[in-house]
């Protein structure tokens, strides 16, 4: 195409060309700003923290003396929370997605309202979920500032993302598969359970893992439901807890350079966990995903 274009271009060519070039340069700059920042951030964190990523950091408890401080309980709590999140969000999220895609009548106002509601929830600031947790889980239900409350509030936070991903996966399953099953006499639930869901599983799994990996990087709501900054023991479901991002926040907000280095080391651990989850999700999609 470009060869043809070159031949036709006529008058006013000089000026147009200059504008075009400046514009291309601006576009490249736009891509560059994001990518260079990403690179700088990663290099900065690694330079600051890599020498502190050691067994002490991974297994020991936090301490007032930076030389002995670790993030063991925080790392464990973040892993527990990730598992709880999968257990909570996948059934509820997929259930909602199946309802909206396979059962709901689009012409009913309440089903359309439900869709808008979910889209809006996806964009509600995470700190507002923290307030919800503070009011209902911690104080209303009297659950206290415990791991379970943190996991529940993060569940509500990522649920919309899981629903949206699961709906897309379900929508990508071609209608002919459903019609084939109906033609053989399957009921609606048999169609969903034996045909649609198995076909949509790779997409649902990828979307859910990505959503969970976003959730375990969340800090703000956990601050409100009371993740503590000093927890010297391993977490239990109904006990005090902290989480890796909260530990990072706490170490960053102290002014001593030693704690900032610890924060950088903890960031390396957090990014490694997130990168592993993301790589796993992408592998799942490439290995099992299908284009219809």
């Amino acid at each position: 195409m470009s060869a043809v274009q070159g031949d036709i271009r006529g008058g006013g060519r000089r000026q147009g060309e200059l504008q075009g070039r400046l514009f291309s340069a601006f576009l490249l700059l736009s891509m560059g700003v994001g990518l260079v920042t990403l690179g700088t951030l990663i290099v900065k964190v690694i330079l600051d923290g890599v020498r502190l990523v050691d067994p002490v950091l991974l297994t020991d408890s936090p301490s007032a003396d930076p030389a002995f401080a670790g993030a063991g309980p925080a790392i464990l709590a973040t892993i527990y929370m990730g598992l709880l999140l999968i257990a909570f969000t996948v059934p509820i999220g997929v259930g909602t997605a199946v309802y909206l895609e396979e059962y709901a009548d689009r012409n009913r106002w309440y089903n359309r309202a439900l869709e808008v509601n979910i889209q809006n929830l996806a964009a509600v600031p995470s700190i507002v979920y923290g307030i919800l947790g503070l009011a209902f889980l911690v104080r209303g239900l009297g659950l206290g500032r415990v791991l379970l409350a943190g996991a529940m509030i993060l569940t509500l936070l990522v649920l919309p993302t899981v629903i949206i991903a699961a709906r897309e996966a379900i929508r990508a399953v071609p209608g002919s598969i459903r019609q084939g099953a109906y033609a053989l006499g399957a009921t609606r639930w048999q169609v969903v359970w034996r045909q649609v869901l198995p076909a949509a599983t790779p997409g649902i799994a990828t979307g859910s893992i990505l959503a969970v990996s976003r959730a375990i990087g969340e800090t703000a709501p956990l601050l409100l439901v009371g993740a503590l900054t000093y927890v010297a023991f391993n977490p239990t479901l109904l006990g005090d807890f902290t989480a890796l991002p909260v530990q990072i926040y706490q170490w960053t907000s102290r002014s001593q350079a030693e704690f900032r280095e610890l924060a950088a080391a903890a960031i390396i651990v957090l990014l490694a966990i997130l990168l592993t989850l993301n790589a796993f999700a992408i592998w799942l999609r490439n290995r099992y995903g299908r284009k219809w």
Partner: protein, 311 residues
Amino acid sequence: MAAPEITAGAKPAPRLRASRRRYGEDVVKGVLALCALVSVATTVGIVVALFLPAIEFFRTISVVDYLTGTNWTPLFEPASFGVVPLIVGTLSVTLWALLMCIPFGLGAAIYLSEYAGGRTRKILKPALELLAGIPTVVYGFFALTFVTPLFRDLGLGLEVQNALAAGIVMGVMLIPTVASISEDAMSAVPRDLRDGAYALGSTRYQVATRIVVPAAISGIVASFVLAISRAVGETMIVLLAAGQRPNLTFDPRDAIETMTAFIAATGQGDVPIDSIEYKTIFAVGATLFLATLVMNLFSIRLVRKFREVYE
């Protein structure tokens, strides 16, 4: 639908009807609807959790004083509850974030949609989206320990915590938000429009700026609105890098406090329930929720519009 002459004379076809009602199917539908109700309950929960205490708050403090007062000192004596400094702080950071994410996000979208070849796109798009996957607390760390010292070395005279570094880092974080929604809208623009413009002798630059961007404008605006909503609601970057000092100033070099930072800082402590300090969390939370709600609904409408036009 079969032609009558074929069935004529034959036995009338039996009407298709389920032999018996399948109660299991109804149960399944009920369970699925319950799942869907969880998100309705979440919204109701948010509204109740925010507005009941907020209403109590406004029984003590008048709404007018709250919205027009320029002094925010809820935790000190004499306590003063004017939210304007928090709103100005929020707007100041948001402004810097938008100055970064709107031009560069849109530029990245145009590049990915109109300029990049298939292979380049396949590498650069996920790379850019990595930015959206970095936890916000990490951006806060970066703004506080790298960007602020860098700007100070450049002689910008920043305080240790300031609106500028927080806003700029937040803007970079939002580039993928703007880029991915805008790019979706641009790829929904039919090829014919581009081909038509090329056939009339347009350059790639002209096609991008005069055909594709105007045709995708509702999606692009939606991405801007969503970015504003995200910037207003972002907590960790501002908590770490912009400070917790409710200054009534637009000077980007100064420490300020945003609505989200106030909620996070106050909600962490053990503020006694039923105290007016405790209720300020909810009053500010309700203000924040209403502001982002309006923007979210607007952006959802716009996205729906571009979907309807071209799909």
